[in-house]
Structure formats: structure tokens, C-alpha cells
Symmetry: C2
Subunit: 432 residues, 2 copies
Amino acid sequence: MTTRHDCLARDAADPLARLKDQFSLPPGVIYLDGNSLGAMPRSTAARVQQVITQEWGQDLIKSWNTAGWMDLPSRIGDKIGRLIGARPGEVIVADSTSLNLFKVLSAALRIVQADSPTRRVIVSERSNFPTDLYIAESLAEQHGATLTLVDSPAEIAAHLNDQLAVLMLTEVNYRTGAKHDMRAVTAAAHAAGALTVWDLAHSAGAVPVDLHGAEADFAIGCGYKYLNGGPGAPAFVWAHPRHADRFWQPLSGWLGHAAPFEFSTRYQPAAGIKRYICGTPAILSTAALECGVDTLLAAEPLGGMAALREKSLALTELFAQLAEDRCGTLGVTVVSPRDAEARGSQVCLALKDPLTQAGYAVIQALIERGVIGDFRAGDPTRLDQVPHILRFGFTPLYVGFADVWDAVEHLYQVLSTAQWREARFNQKAAVT
Amino acid sequence: MTTRHDCLARDAADPLARLKDQFSLPPGVIYLDGNSLGAMPRSTAARVQQVITQEWGQDLIKSWNTAGWMDLPSRIGDKIGRLIGARPGEVIVADSTSLNLFKVLSAALRIVQADSPTRRVIVSERSNFPTDLYIAESLAEQHGATLTLVDSPAEIAAHLNDQLAVLMLTEVNYRTGAKHDMRAVTAAAHAAGALTVWDLAHSAGAVPVDLHGAEADFAIGCGYKYLNGGPGAPAFVWAHPRHADRFWQPLSGWLGHAAPFEFSTRYQPAAGIKRYICGTPAILSTAALECGVDTLLAAEPLGGMAALREKSLALTELFAQLAEDRCGTLGVTVVSPRDAEARGSQVCLALKDPLTQAGYAVIQALIERGVIGDFRAGDPTRLDQVPHILRFGFTPLYVGFADVWDAVEHLYQVLSTAQWREARFNQKAAVT
């Protein structure tokens, strides 16, 4: 079995290890919740201070131009584009993931229905993150469409027919960490005459994404998870250039206008992705997002997302292996795919009888020991299929191999001493 | 004529004058653009630092609960409510003005059409801020409705008929500063069987607003103008309780769900205004907004919005009077209403022949002298009706009477020496 010494040696030999210096984390904390809220880059505080005291406080209104506020959505969008296989000018930062999904799903439905009015089905997974389902439910109602939810990826194939308008999937599942094959799924959807919308909330900055390589249609993603943009950081949105200037923007705010400062009374969308800017961007939060994205770009000289992915897989594999080896007899099972290709950058554990209901307490006991993961309740009516899970995200920028070893050791101690029975039942702290 | 000495005496006797200490402004600057981007409160930098380094950096994910991030939209909403005649629990902070307009205009259309399907007209003013018109244009298209624009408030009456669904107005015009009588206009719309949507972008924090007193239906407003929330600060939204639980939220994001942490697959809107939260709020920008709102609440012991309004009217009247007295013969006319009741907290000037085209250069020359206002181009095809304007906002929290006197003196010197001819043509710096 891998020893702690082995892990320390791997950390010492890891050229990516020094990227952790970019972050400030509390002493003694092993932070395995970067899939929920990324850690704080050291650069963020000074950058936001600069925006507040100099750009806003001293330079006031002119900073929209002189400090480049007006260009932030595109500038940061281009940086994110480098992480997800998009080209310059194709990505912008705006609003929230939910709102960006509303924009692109509206567009996808219109494009498909313009050519094929009878295509009225949106297909997604029941296990998709709820906000995606809620937005799709709203748009289905408005467009006279139907939202069909499948219970497993294998069921998708049965819906690839001439009724399908849009296949809307999150590439990496927020609960299980299971990862779709974006290229293959997109090709299958296209073969059926449908478009795809990909939510990259748990992909961007976590796994290499190649939107052009996959021939994807639309994508959105989150700024505050693996992009380390800070709580509630703005989200991003991408559209394949083949849809550019064809796609619709129902949220037709003035900064998505082709010439906002002409103050025209009629909406004329900006060319390309810029139409997906809506109102005035929240500059403080947007500036902080750039610092987060920069922590990922710092890996480019070291191999970029491919190198980060290699480390991520090594970390998650080590965690899964150690969790099974050390804690398997205590009732722990690995829920996430063991096949590397089918896994994002997180590992989820479930607990077997008699610990089935102990998950929340176990997470609390781990947090008290400084190991921060989170708990996601299962479906009480079918815990065999959707169990309670302990969710651990592994951000290769700031998690090392010894951290993984220590986290499993803590888990072992919590379970073997039944320490979780004494864990304080803190209020839930959970924003996915 | 009022002398500078008179103005200094008025400042010395003004109990609101000390509220300026809440702000940090560059030395030598007379800031008359708070109607575009409010000035920076001194408290903002430290508060945002606390959010970044302590709440995010040290306390990480648990701050959603322990630092009250989850409650920020309601907590700040309640504070804004005190400025606009709304009750606790009726206002939330979310997204942008454009997006909040999309939410409430969608709701208003649905409510009206549920009772009166033949009501299919939205009426607004051609001079309304464009983003409002763009959002209405989009929703009119989606709802099979018509957007009708009037050229003056007097024309509204002709459209108060059984076709009218929603009367959508900005209370204080962003160009001219002309102010509607919200109570009278709302009563007339209601008498015609229609609902009202009020944009308070240039009202909240600028003039007393009494949403309940006016029996208004829906309202939205901006966080970064008179509320001093910082560049692109989140906006706010209000709905009258009589519409609560009836109104629709097309932008059905997860944090507007009745129980977001149950991760249900079906959307069930939260009770009341909280359904208008959509995705995860941008916490840094939201926290900064609270500091801005607090600068207005600091006036409550001194008479609150009524006292601020009294000073605002005195400032704008003084500016208009001095501008006419000192600069009238140089070609300056006051475009904003001289009747106090019909005016917001800004004064706009136009220039007569031969200075008709000099407005932009005059503003640049003033900015070079430290007097910051802005320029709004007129309609080139009918400059007699929609002239180029010089726009000056007067925020009683940080503008004094001597500032007004000095600003007019600078304007006089710019015009009388034709200094504007030498003004650098800086890039436009303009976010309304």
C-alpha cells in the first residue's frame, strides 16, 4: 500500500507543486471542496483593492475605458477560452451559469426549430445540477417543448431521434464526478439532427476541454469552482462560430447591443458572442475572476491543462485506492467511476449499512479535523440508486499527494473510532 | 446673484454636509457624475478585503452560512426598501437592472394576460433608457405583444385603454432628469386596467420613492448610481405583495427555488420576492453594494431621503439658476424641468448656436478642470427636440453648494475663453 513517505516523495518530484504558492489557504486545512468554491488566490485581494481604491475611487467613471472595465468580459473570456478549446473572441464572461444557460438554450431551441419545427424535445439527465433543469423547464414551457430526463447516460441513445431538439448535459456530474465523452455524445446528437448544450461547471479548469475538437454547439460554465474566481464569480458562455450571428439573445441588455453608446431605441445585437453580455457587468467580482483564471494559466509553461489533468487523475486514483484499501472494511465504497476517462476531478464515497445515514456526520467530523469536503443527500426513496455521498474535489493546483494520504487517514480515524457520532451538526454549508 | 461666500455659508450651516466624510474622492474634483457611477465609500475597501481574505480565504465554503452570504440579497434588499417605500422582505438584490426588468415585465405581462388576454400593448417612452426598451422589445416578441413608444409623457394618456397591458416607465429620465408623478401615473394606468413597471435607476437614493403610497406594481433599480455600490453593482427588484406568489420567474435559477438544497428536479419558486434570485450571487460586488446603501441610511437620523431631497433640490435649483445667470448669454440653456416636483437630482444643459456641436468638447474641458459631468449625444436628425446635452448629477451626500458655484464658474471660464476648443478629445467615458 502507498505510504505517506511515498506521497511526500511524489510531491517533492511534482513540478506542479509550486503552483500552490499562488493560493492562501488556512494553516492545517486540506481543502477538498474546490469543486464547490475554489480557494483564494493570493493576488485577488490586491487586485480588487486596486479596482476599488484607484480605478473606482480615484479615476471614477473614466475607468470604463482607461482601466479597461469595458473589455473585462472579453479579456477574461479569451483567457478561459484557452482552457476549454475555444478561440479568441469566442468566450465572454457574464452573469451567472443559470442565466447563460437561459441564453444559449433559448438560442439552440430557436436555431433547431427554425429548420425543424417539429423538434420539440430537450433531453437531459435527472442527475444534472438542478438549476440546469429549472432553466430548461422554464424554456420548454415557453417554447412549447418537452423536457425529458434520463436516469443514466446509457438511456440517451434511445432519445436521439427526429423529435430531439437539444441535448443538454453537464460534462462532469456534480454529484458523482462521472464524465461524458463530449466528442462522442456530440457526434451522436448531431447525427440525429440535434444541437448540444454543454455545462462545463465541473470541467473548466478541472479537465481538458476541447470544444472545437468536439464540434460542440454551445457551452457555459462557472467561475467560482475550479476557476477560483471567488464566491458567486460571474460565469462564462461560448457559442460555436457556425452559430455566430444566427443565435438569439432573449436577455437583450444594452451592453450586448452592437453600438451601446448610440443609445438607439431598437435592439441590434453585437456581432458574435458579445451579444451575450446583457447589463453592466459587476466589475469587482469580474476582476477577481481574472485572478482566479490566471492561476490556471500559470500552469501553461508546465504543460497546462494536460499536465493538470494527469496530476488530477493521479490524485483521484490515489484517493479512491486508499479509501478502498484503508476504509473499505469500515463500509466505504467509491461511487465515482474508477475508469480515468470517465471521471472528472472529484471522487465521491458512499457508506454502507450500518453507516448509510452517517454521511453528513462523517463530513462534519472531517471538517473539524481540517479536511473540507461536502455532503450531498441521496434520494431517500431509492438510496440504493442515489445514495448519500461524501464528495471530495481534487484541485491539482493546490492539493498534493500527501494531502490525499492525510485525508484518507483522517477518514479512517473518524470511522474506526466512530468519532463522527460526536461531530457537531453544523448548519449545512453548501453551494455546489 | 448668489456669491461663493453665500454658498460657503450654506455649506457651513448644512447638517448633511458631514455625510461627505463617508466618501473618498480625489482632491480637487467636483464629482457631478454620481448619476452614472456613484462615488466610493471609504468603508468599501475594508469590507471587501474582509470578504476576500477572511470570509473566502480563511472560512471558505462555510461562509455561505457563517458570514451570511446566503442572506445578503435579502439583507441589502431590506435596506434599499427603506429608501423606496417598500417593507421588509419585499426587495431583493440580484443580477442587473436589465435582467430584473426581464423578470418583472414577464411577470406583469402574464398577470395581465391571464385576466385579459386581449391586452397586448406595452407602452413606454422613446426617451427611456435603451436597455429597458431592448428588454421590452424582446418580451413583446415572445409574448405576441406590441411595444409602443411615446415621445412625451403627455402622450401616455392616449394609450390608457383596454389594449394596454403594462405601462413601463423610468421615474426619472436618464437624459433630462424629468420626473414622473409615480402616484398619479400609476393610478391612471390602474384605472385603465393595466399594470405598471417602474425603473428607479435614477430615483433610488436620489429622490424619495413611496412604492406602497403610489400603489405601484413592480419596480427595479440600479445599485451603482445614487446607491454608490461600485461599478456594475448588482441591481434590486420589488413586487407589490398583492402580486406575490402569483408572479412568474422565467429565469428560474436554483437559488430562487423554495428549497434549493433539496436539489429537486422540479422548479418550485420560493415564496414572494426571493424567487427573483436566480443563480449564485456575485458576493464581492454584492458586499460592496451594502457599503454604498449604508451611506444613504446614515442620513436617516438627519431626516433621511426627505432631507436629502430638500438639499438635492436646493443644489439643482442653484446650479440651474447660476448656469442661466452666468452662462445664459454664452449660449447655455437649462433642459431639465425648472419645476422642482418634476425634476430628479440632475440638471442638463444644452448649448445654442454656434455652440450646438461643442457639448462634448465642453465636457472634456470641464473634466480637465476637475469638474466631472458627462455628455449625451442628441438625435442628429432632430436636434431641436433631442439636443446634445451636458449632464450633471447632484448627489447631496457628497456635493455641496460651493461645489455648485465652482462648477458654474468653471463652465463660465471654459465658454468665455473658448477653452473647449483646446480640450483633448478623450475617449468617451460613459456608462449611464
